[in-house]
Subunit: 238 residues, 4 copies
């Protein structure tokens, strides 16, 4: 039997899959909880409980997993809409603003989330924070030739930015788009995510950052109480 | 002897090269006038009139030309500063805001221009307009998998965007960064370049757009009067 | 009514589509004749004459067209096999060896052709030659940083190689993989395609060349005789 | 004081730097021993013992380090020749054939090594093997969309190939060129490196593999005898 932590993630994944209806075009997120969600979806398709589903993945990992489970996939350019996207997050604040990008997939993930009619976030309770960027660094995807320049511009905005280095290759992590990642710590955390997202994206050499602003419709939080894994719906603080 | 049009471009290029001093790190632009500027710079280095110059190029074209002329080059990541950048433009408005990107090099060009202590624009008089985007389309560089989605989002902003197609390969033009280009016409032209630049760059899937806002220090305009090629300094309208 | 040239291409396209059976995974080629083939396939799917087809495209062009026609597509990584691939060619020799790559798509095209159980080439009669590379240049896809070095190595092999320049962007054509194209003329044409394909692919910096060796199962040739468009099957000379 | 292992690497690095003369264009390799070589070179340039050196790097790591040490760098496209390249290796066999690519830089490394008039390999004694690929996997760089297909083709050649997965991003390692890496174990090791190098490079979807065949002029081996770090020149077995 799975440990409590895994049971909790499975509970959240299952709660998210409950929202999937026949015929939907689905955004399939990345990360460990999203992986459990994809597995649960695959099981429902195999049993016939769900039908006519099309998936759009946000990472190589999801693409391989979905293909193995027989979930029909389409590219983002080949779908007219996404009905529902389900993904994890690295931090969630009380207004449902997110930091994502620990896996360096935030470019694809934001494309899918921003395309979706409805975006549901699945996390465990450790990801809920009062203020973003005090515990988790903000990933910024930059052109290889621009990382030093962007690093300097981020310092002007009050951020300390380190190039993310790789373990299994020499030099820096390269994203699926062929770019580099700066992990940024803003002094005092991020007070105005909407403003900062736009400022960083406007820096020359920046493709995208990991702030997901005004995109999230619902946050499902896994928790353990009295030794039992459960799920609660986070209340948005206006 | 060169025709009047070429004489005019040479006059502007020469006027820009006048601003180069020994020891400068230079941003070397793209396009036909910038090419003449690079040639004039190469001649001054060969004659010994200028010394200790380092160039940073903004396109493949400039890199090949500068290498052939023996201009020492460095990558953007290998220089601490750029003293002076000289480049062309597709449109210049009275506040010195620009549209660039006809050659699909605006990502590199904006990196260099925004890094430079001083940015000088060299154009002929046909590029001076009252309002941007009524005559020249605004190029937006997008991830290959995101072009349809960005096209839709640009429509929400009032823009009609067409994918730039190639002549010498099947399918679309691919930029030096491996991305695609949407050429955008905003209804009524562009009234607030600063706002639009930021909005477009904040769209998921957009790397950069061709609006150069608050970057230009000086505009040198080539003109022909009484059959003689000359240069004037454009006055900025506040 | 379409002109004779178009009628001829349509006749070849129709002959190729005849070979498609229900349930097949199909490689969908690039170029004008392949485009007509994709249209004919779309019509048969719409009418219900063909069912359960999955397409794998070889270019952006084919992907857009197939999506618009409602042909279900999968990525190359998501299919276990390709039953039949249909594509054009720039030159076909008597042993069914090909030069492809006029559209700079030969990397994707060769991946699909080499994966297919059966590879059918559709051309008009002008593409049939006695010896390759006397009329059409051989495209070689190279890393951006390696083009000069590869150009030198090709010269050692007896080839004159020019970098393919773009019309709608500054500088060279960039492929869908982000690389450059050298167009090569071998002195005296290509006598041993199998040997040359391997030698060129072994040069550092080369991704792929446009020689398709021992891949083609059938060549359908469009021709006009007595003012009527028709199709013949090319006989392979051993 | 550095430990014995580091002393040994420093001794090899120093022996290699001994071969550098004023005015040379140098290929600067990757890996820990090459890093020590770059540092030793930087010290000689700073002291004035060496002059007029130009470096061409083989990895991001080397580029950053050389820039910090003030070693003038050029891109591969901007140099006419490389006089001497110095790099490490993952395995060296008695005929001086190599496996490289543990750091996923073998594409750039092979470009530089094959361009150099003289290629010197610096290793410690653990890298010397009787037969390649019994201890170290052979890296093969492949297009992202082709990894499954190449994996299948490598199996036909007798190789078991695993996709190299990343630690600091979700999914696979992405190379500096934006591709993926298959790590291959050939049954019984590699008997004929020259033949295998060519066969693998001829597979559609393969950019380059980590076999360096007939490129190496000299192998310097660090060793410890009687507790003292030293260097020997490996004898080539014909």
């Amino acid at each position: 039997m799975a440990d409590l932590q895994t049971q909790m993630k499975q509970a959240v994944a299952a709660a998210a899959v409950e929202q999937i209806k026949d015929g939907m075009v689905l955004g399939l997120g990345s990360g460990s909880t999203a992986a459990l969600m994809i597995q649960a979806l695959g099981a429902k398709l195999a049993s016939g409980e769900l039908r006519e589903i099309v998936g759009v993945t946000t990472s190589f990992q999801g693409e391989v997993m979905a293909a193995e489970l027989g979930i029909p996939l389409r590219n983002l350019t080949a779908v007219d809409r996404i009905d529902l996207a389900i993904d994890g997050a690295d931090e969630v604040d009380p207004s449902f603003q997110l930091i994502k990008g620990g896996g360096a997939c935030h470019v694809q993930e934001k494309l899918v989330a921003s395309r979706a009619d409805r975006f549901v976030v699945v996390v465990d309770s450790t990801k809920i924070v009062d203020r973003l960027n005090l515990g988790f660094l903000l990933p910024v995807e930059v052109l290889p030739g621009a990382w030093r320049q962007v690093q300097g511009r981020l310092a002007e905005l009050g951020g300390i930015a380190d190039l993310r280095m790789a373990q299994c290759k020499a030099g820096p992590v390269v994203t699926d788009q062929g770019n580099l990642v700066l992990d940024v710590s803003m002094a005092g955390g991020i007070g105005d995510p909407e403003d900062l997202e736009c400022r960083i994206n406007n820096l020359p050499g920046v493709l995208e950052n990991g702030l997901f602003v005004n995109l999230t419709d619902e946050v499902l939080v896994g928790q353990i109480s009295d030794g039992v894994a459960g799920v609660r719906r986070l209340q948005r603080r206006e």
